[in-house]
Symmetry: D3
Subunit: 129 residues, 6 copies
């Protein structure tokens, strides 16, 4: 009953074009299940891939930093799929064991302090308004 | 009725010691409202500051990267206080306008894709398990 | 160690009465695991079923629209059980593949823009206050 | 210290083009603060508007249904800005008081049941897998 | 544009009956804004009050413990209204400053460890399955 | 690819010291997977255990109440690992079936009402500000 995954050989030309661009951009021979699921709706596949390609490209922030930010969001939201796939992506982009440990520590700390700030009903400092 | 903020002049010696360490570590003459609120419970103040000092210190990840990760969590959780204070902290640590824009784009994208992955019920790729 | 599921043949008369009403209302011969788990606490089972029956009934909004709204919440919260069961319920109420795709796109977009609004600290327009 | 809002008269030609398209598409003479904030980063403004225009357009689901789904996500995430602006948008698209009341009831119910399902650790029914 | 608050003198008999029951049950002469807002939809007002009256009543857990649990959820969800009103309710039910401090510490800790468990992708111990 | 679990026999002396303290404090012969995963980064293991030991100790609130608050947060956040492990911990601390049922009911109710308060855009009562 879950959405079927669309494999390359079963894909329409427009879906194959996205798959080809994903594999070329990422220099890999495989396409993740995320894309194969989105391929059930080609406009969603195209829009999402275009956004990922544009946003995750090297810019003022490196791909590694972007992957760690992406992972921080995914861990905060408890998205198991995204945690698995973006941990792999961050590793591939150069995240060491020590970086991973620091990343997790910051994520945990921020999630804690977000609630302390809310529960103690801290007013925003004049300097930060 | 909100928690009162404990100002330096009204603080106990143990609270003052934390305030002094905050100001020395951050090379600033002021203490944020967050700490003045936590000071209502000195053990929470001490434990939280110790964790912040340890976790946010330069390590494999720079303070700037850590502040951006912290901000990614705070934006995901809609914590207004934390967004205000850590945007300021990230700016102080060197976040440019362009970095801010890329950070926000990644946060938005990850929050979107976390839900696409959940809603499409994507199974974790064998390679990521 | 998880909560046991209470099957019809093992249920008390008050629990059976709820099961009977669920099956009659939904015109089905089975009761979902959700109800069989709640049946461990009959007052919770009764209160929850009464609320579902009342709220999810046809009104100004059709059952299909209500199921899609329910699914939007469940996807946002990453509730795997609720996503699975309410995708099935929405399908049964008439959700087509195209509707599903549009629903997911809106959910993703809103989750993204919620964070852009928070991160950019956008003030509420005078017109919307 | 928050992001400044970019008004039409101060906007670059590329930002004005987006503002013009927003006003034409929505048949209105004003642009919401959300867009004026995003205009600080023209690529984010363009990408986000393109996604909104594409996803929120009439399709298998009507603009009214899409606005209600958007609101369901925003309420679940406690995004004050988005709740204010999309309540207005849903009203404009035809949401009556009765529809609003039913929408809120479904949102509340789903948020409740998401946690009952998680806390009771309900296994997904074979039929829904 | 927000929902108007329905004051007692302007309320229908069915709404007044709920207000009367709220004031009698809580032994107070006022009704919170939450109820005055829900009164715009009497069925929601009645259903919600019935659930609150039933669930928050003394049982195996005392009203004080229930208020602290309610607050833990509200802080986790960053619901400003609920944090304000249920901090007051918990205080009225007997929450001391020391209890408040411990409550906040546990909330912060759990929010942190929820993310460490997710980010480290910890498998559930055989003993807990 | 997930983080390996560090077993006692493979652990460094500093990690063993934490494991020993966990087992002594909890009067048990085993260490949960959570700690075996965190042991991949000894500073995180030590900091997290110190916080848990300090915060979850008997104080103004009993260990049972603290475990139920912890569970309320974990259920709200949909953290499967934490729900499993802290349901077991709360049971061990004395949570009866009836307490569990009341706890879940309060969690569900608060999650629902948090959204009704947000969606109805209820202003904070003067008395609670």
């Amino acid at each position: 009953m879950p959405i079927p995954l669309i494999e390359y050989q079963d894909a329409s030309p427009e879906v194959r074009a996205v798959y080809d661009d994903i594999m070329a951009t990422r220099q890999t021979g495989r396409v993740n299940n995320f894309w194969k699921a989105l391929a059930n709706d080609p406009p969603t596949l195209e829009r999402t891939w275009r956004a990922v390609k544009e946003i995750m490209a090297p810019g003022e922030l490196s791909p590694l930093i972007k992957e760690m930010i992406y992972l921080a969001v995914s861990v905060t939201n408890q998205c198991a799929y995204c945690i698995a796939s973006h941990t792999a992506a961050a590793r591939k982009a150069g995240m060491s064991d020590a970086m991973f440990a620091e990343l997790m520590a910051v994520i945990g700390l921020a999630n804690q302090n977000n609630r302390l700030a809310a529960g103690y009903r801290v007013e925003i400092d004049k300097e930060f308004q």
